[in-house]
Amino acid sequence: MEAHSAISVTANPQVPEFGPGDTVRVNFRIREGERERVQAFQGVVIKKQGRAPGTTFTVRRVTYNIGIERTFPIYSPLLESVEVVRRGIVRRAKLYYLRGLSGRAARIKERRQPGRRSQASSQ
């Protein structure tokens, strides 16, 4: 038996299938003192890592010329929802090379034809 399989995880219905290269908008609940609000973070998914319940994904965005990466636990109850803004074509699972690129070089080609994965999720 394996330790992770002992933990029951329920997938958040507000989190669709997505992968590295996709641009996503992550709505994450944060506490500000007593108040709770939803904060959005939009960027490119550069990696997905780990097995349930410890799976995390990292989103990278560049604002004012400063790269910001945030890592979210997929099975966290604080993860309100994830919206896929754009599907990207990439050839690797970890897009660390984006860190060394900026501007036009850091673009990712969009997947226009609905791929196998997006078809499966729409059914």
């Binding site: 038996m1 394996e2 330790a3 992770h4 002992a6 933990i7 609940r29 319940p53 410890g54 636990p73 099975y75 966290s76 109850p77 604080l78």
Partner: protein, 204 residues
């Protein structure tokens, strides 16, 4: 009631609380155990219950004689009891013995690390790595005086065999109990490698 039971370490994982905090947990396959013998004050001078865990097919003849009626088990351990009144030989002990939120002590055998130096074994800081030093980086330093006392004190921390000893971790919180799969989730780490035998008992 009996105060604990036997189990097998499965490994570690994590659990999310509703407020988003992550709790590190050890997954333990606890029981089912069978009471194989009762120790009574009259006969043995103390009270305890002997538990059997992990059914096996083959066992040597003395143990077959001892366990004949209750089934054959690989592991036998004695555990203290509140009272022997509600226990009888052949009785089953299951994980539902524990409640969520309860504190337990977990006893296991730590991973063997072989012959280790003082830095790993006792947390010594070692010597300087630079300034012309050679062969001093992981040395233990002085181990005592000179003519007085003329010997090394007993119990001086030195290199030697590390691990593979009985370790008790106290006051671990029970996070989840799954009687269907005989699983116990306990907050924090537990000694030993996966698949090793553990004794879980209620904290006094």
């Amino acid at each position: 009631m009996i105060r604990g039971m036997l189990g097998k370490k499965i490994g570690m994982s994590q659990v999310f609380l509703p407020d988003g905090r992550v709790v590190p947990v050890t997954v333990i396959e606890a029981g089912p155990c069978t009471v194989t013998q009762l120790r009574t004050s009259d006969r043995d001078g103390y009270e305890a219950a002997q538990l059997g865990f992990t059914q096996v097919k083959r066992l040597n003849k003395p143990l077959r004689g001892h366990l004949g009626r209750t089934g054959l088990f690989r592991h036998l351990r004695e555990l203290s009891t509140d009272t022997l009144d509600d226990l009888h030989v052949g009785q089953q002990v299951n994980v539902d013995l524990f409640q969520v939120g309860e504190k337990v002590d977990v006893i296991g055998t730590s991973k063997g690390r072989g012959f280790q130096g003082t830095i790993k074994r006792h947390g010594f800081s070692g010597g300087p790595r630079t300034h012309g030093q050679s062969d001093r980086a992981r040395a233990p330093g002085s181990i005592g005086g000179t003519t007085t006392p003329g010997r090394v004190f007993k119990g001086k921390k030195m290199a030697g065999h590390m691990g593979n000893t009985r370790i008790t971790v106290k006051n671990l919180e029970v996070v989840e109990v799954d009687p269907e799969r005989n699983l116990l989730l306990v907050k924090g780490g537990v000694p030993g490698a996966p698949n090793s035998l553990l004794t879980i008992r209620k904290t006094r």
